[in-house]
Every structure is written in structure tokens, then in C-alpha cells.
Subunit: 314 residues, 2 copies
């Protein structure tokens, strides 16, 4: 029997992990977006409600990620039915926390929850990517972690190119999101169009080191490898207010490395213990406080689960 | 009590593994170089004999890899003693099989075998690199596999930058070395000096895939990732005679991928079974036979052991 209403949660995620630009990402425990989907008989996709976006997101289902993702999934199923969608943003917009990916993933998970025979999680990837693509282009480095959980190697946008890496048990993260906008397009525009061959070697070396360290559960080496990026973060750092100060304070308080979350402005410090991550998060916030810049902070670990169906109603 | 004479073997190795240019290498079971070292009281380094080089290598200890490596190790030990060295080349010169690295490693292993208190293997790396550097510059992607065995991530030339990856149990290699010279300097000169950012992303993605596949013991994925190199091998392929034909024949006979060994001209096919590797090696040789080009072929696996002390004499 068809359910009439389903609600799903998809977690925040951190893409890039420094040196893993456009290929690595991880899901964060805690915050995320929630989408509720309800069948409607008129075949329309309707976005009935958006909360937590400060009125910034479009309710047009052709323009809003959740509408596009839901439409893509229904199209994939050759369904003629429509859905009413309600989006609760738990993540700030353009923050580097994978908010658009979380919305897209929550939308497809919710619509999938309505189905008599729900698809396997793997089969939801393409539709979620359609939603994400409307904002950020076809990248799976936020969508795949948000959907599947864990640390993800997304070496393409099809399921055979996506691999889940093991999660080191003592990996803790401290995050701050200052209240500034860093549009993804701008963060991409500042990147070099070419890199010297020597940097390619060092960058591939650092990525290899990172993946090996993840498999070995070696957070210290992982952190060092993440921060070894010589191409992306140096080009973007000037877009991130007070990043040097934040990195300095984070390390003084025990962080092993600090990287930009996605295209920023979220900064993500890698720590080995929960209590260290907590004090690092506080120390990072104090930097912004000193400069009179509002920010959100959190300390968390990797979400092993990824997106979850919360409730369904018959 | 000091030994008077020691003999050591160091295996061939394949550097790069396609996409892992300058950072990955593996040791090969079977062929390699042998160095015999004998104390001498006059403080001199003397290369008394070289076999298997067709007379091409210098006997000058300042110019020959084994002399330089032995000198580096004695210098590291602040020893005033000299050694007589005898080198038996089991590997062709400039072949892409890590012959110079094997010579350097065998030399330091042999001299180390003379010591009352031999150094740990890790402490021999620097001296072996000194020898290798005389020919190829400071790269550890042949020296480290030859010294330690296994599949090595050499993300630098110090021991803390060198990591051993697990060896997939069903990894078999078919190798052909055509009788042409491809000097390493030429093979480096044809490389692009810069690469587009997009290629950097694909290259880092492929390297990450390769390291993950190695950890997962997935030879099929490993092979695909190795061959995904878009930067190095395409630029060098024209230096490798009949490479397209060899690749075609290798795959027809069951090989999963074909990469250039180091700077070539050795070509290395990745296979999943011993018998497949054998027939692939034969098929590859037939290509050179057809074109009247002499070649050596072998099929083998990864050497887990690395260099070995063969004998010592009191």
C-alpha cells in the first residue's frame, strides 16, 4: 500500500578534505536538512513550505533543489504522480557544509519513502545529483557522503565510481562557519587553470597518503596529508576571513590540521579526541568574536549512516 | 667480530604504476642485481668486477652507483675502512625495471652485511638513495620497493614519507623489455611542464582509487585506476615501440591493464592469475617478434621481501 507522507533527514557533509579537491567528502554527525514529501494526485511538484532559509530560496520547483531532485526521481520511476514538498533547512546556505546536497538527498529519500517498493539507496544517487547539479554542477563529493554516510571517494558521478573508505575511530572534527558568503562560483573562479607538473606529483602523493592513512586509521597522518594541498586552498584562502588566525588558534588548542569545508567559508579542524574538538571549536569561535564576525560552531564526528527516513504515514 | 665478505641481492622494481608517477612502486619477485662487498684496509672503495652490463658501466667508484652508495653508507657510519665491490647485473640497463636502484640497494645491503652491528633496513635508505640519485635524481619509487619489498607509497625520500601498502593476493604481472634504449632524461623531457586543473582532479581521483583498490585487494579496480593516467603515459607512449599493439595483445589474452614500467621501455601488464600472466607475456613477446625487435619477457608477482643478504664470510 502506498504511503501518503514521508519525512527524511540528510546530513551535512564536508567536501575536498583539503588535498582531495572534488573527489573526497565525508558526512557529519548531527546537523542536516529535513524534507517531507506527500503524494498529490494532480501530478504537480509543489514546494509548500521552506523553513530556515531566511526567505532566500525559491519555491519554484524547477529552480529549487528539492523540487528538481524529486522530479528527477519521479521521472526515473516513470511516475505520473506529484508530490508536495516541505523543506526544513538545518544548514546555512552557501556555507561549505554541503547544504544543497543535503536538501537534494533528503528530497529523494523522502519521495523514495512514499513508494510501495522503495529503491535501494544506490539507485537514488542520480536523482540527488540532478538536484545538486542545479546549484554546484555535477559533483558527488557532497551528495554521496550525505546519501551513504562515512568518508567517500567520489571519482565520478556513477555508483561504480563511488567508494566508501573506512572511518578512523578517533577522528573528531571542529567546525566554524562565519557569517559571510563565499559563493561556490567565486571560490572556483580563483583557482588556477593549470598547475605545474611538480605540484601534480606532490598533490597525487598527498592524496595517496591521505587514502592510505584513512585505511590505516592514522588520524595524525591523515591530517598532515589533508593540509598538504598546495593548489586549491592556497588559491582560496584569501576568501576565508581570518583563516590564518583560526588555524593558529585551532592548532594551539590541539587540532592536527585545518582545511576549508568545500568552497568555504566553513573551516574544519581535524582532531583526535572529542574534548580537543570541543575546545578547538570554542577557540576558533573566539577568533571571529574578537573581530566582531558572527559564526556558528560545532564539533562532531563522521556520520556512518548518511541519510535516514524519519517517518512514513499511511 | 667483523665479517670479511658479504653478498646481497636486491630485486627489480616497477615505478609509477601508471597514474602513480614518482610516488608508487613495487618490487618484483625473481630478477635483480647482486653485489658482493669485502673489507679492505687501505680505506679505498674499489669496484673490482662488473658482470652483465656489456661493459657499459664505469668502474670509477665516484661514478658507479654501487661505489657511491657504498661510500654514502660508510660515510654515514663515519667509517674509515674501504671495500672492494663486485656487481653482478641481473637487470638490463635503462630498462624501466629499477636496475640502478637494485644496484644501489644491493650495495648498501652488502656493505651493511659486513658490519659487526648491522643497521636496520630503514637506516639504509638514505645511502641507497645517494647511489640512485647519481643516475635518476632523488626518487624513492624504485629504491624503496627494492629495499623493503611490497608495494610502496614513496611520498618523499625520508623514511617517514614512505609507506608500505598491502599486496593483493591475486596480483600477477607480465613484463616485456624490448631491446631499445629509452634514457630516463628523455622520458622526463617529453612530459608537459603544466597540466590543466581538470586533469589534476582526474589524476588525484585515479590515484586515490588505486590506493583504495590496493587496500581492498581489488586487482580489477587497481588495474583500471593504474591505466587512468592522462598525463604521463600519453606523453611518453611514442617512445615505447609498438605499445598500442602490445597493449591490445595483452588485453586479448586476459590482461586487465598495461602500463609503462618506470620510464620504459619495459611494459607491465596487470593480470589476475599466474597462467594468464604467462600467456600475456608470451603474447606481448610475439608482437616484438613480428617486428623483429628482440625483447626479454617474464611473468612474476610482487616480492614481499625486498633485498636480501645472501651470504657472509668471517
Amino acid at each position: 500500500m502506498l504511503k501518503t507522507r514521508a519525512e527524511a533527514f540528510a546530513p551535512a557533509s564536508i567536501a575536498n578534505l583539503g588535498v582531495g579537491f572534488d573527489i573526497l567528502g565525508l558526512a557529519l554527525d548531527g546537523a542536516g536538512d529535513v524534507v517531507e514529501a506527500e503524494w498529490r494526485d494532480d501530478g504537480q511538484i509543489v514546494i509548500a513550505e521552506i523553513r530556515g532559509d531566511e526567505g532566500k530560496l525559491s519555491h519554484d520547483p524547477q529552480k529549487n533543489i528539492v523540487g528538481i531532485a524529486a522530479q528527477a526521481l519521479l521521472g526515473q520511476l516513470h511516475s505520473k504522480r506529484g508530490v508536495t514538498l516541505r523543506l526544513k533547512k538545518g544548514l546555512p546556505l552557501s556555507s561549505g557544509l554541503g547544504g544543497s546536497a543535503a536538501s537534494a538527498v533528503a528530497a529523494v529519500m523522502a519521495v523514495n519513502g512514499l513508494l510501495e517498493k522503495p529503491l535501494a539507496r544506490e539507485d537514488l544517487l542520480a536523482a540527488a545529483l540532478e538536484g545538486e547539479a542545479a546549484v554546484s554542477g555535477y559533483h558527488a563529493d557532497n551528495v554521496a557522503p550525505s546519501l551513504f554516510g562515512g568518508i567517500i571517494l567520489a571519482n565520478g558521478i556513477t555508483i561504480d565510481r563511488i567508494h566508501r573508505l573506512p572511518v578512523p575511530s578517533d577522528l573528531h572534527l571542529a567546525l566554524v562557519t562565519p557569517n559571510v558568503e563565499v559563493p561556490t562560483a567565486q571560490a572556483r573562479a580563483v583557482l588556477p587553470s593549470t598547475v605545474p607538473l611538480r605540484q601534480l606529483v606532490r598533490q597525487t602523493g598527498a592524496v595517496a597518503d591521505l587514502v592510505d592513512a584513512i585505511h590505516c586509521g592514522d588520524v595524525v597522518r591523515m591530517a598532515r596529508a589533508m593540509e598538504a594541498d598546495e593548489v586549491i586552498e592556497p588559491a582560496r584562502a584569501h576568501l576565508m576571513p581570518y583563516i590564518d588566525e583560526v588555524r593558529h588558534e585551532a592548532k594551539l588548542n590541539g587540532a592536527l590540521a585545518l582545511v576549508i569545508g568545500g568552497a568555504g567559508p566553513t573551516l574544519c579542524a581535524v582532531c583526535q579526541r572529542w574534548d580537543i574538538a570541543e575546545s578547538v571549536a570554542l577557540a576558533m569561535r573566539r577568533v571571529y568574536d574578537r573581530h566582531g564576525l558572527a559564526c556558528q560552531m560545532r564539533h562532531t564526528t563522521v556520520s556512518a549512516q548518511g541519510a535516514q527516513l524519519l517517518t512514513t504515514h499511511l
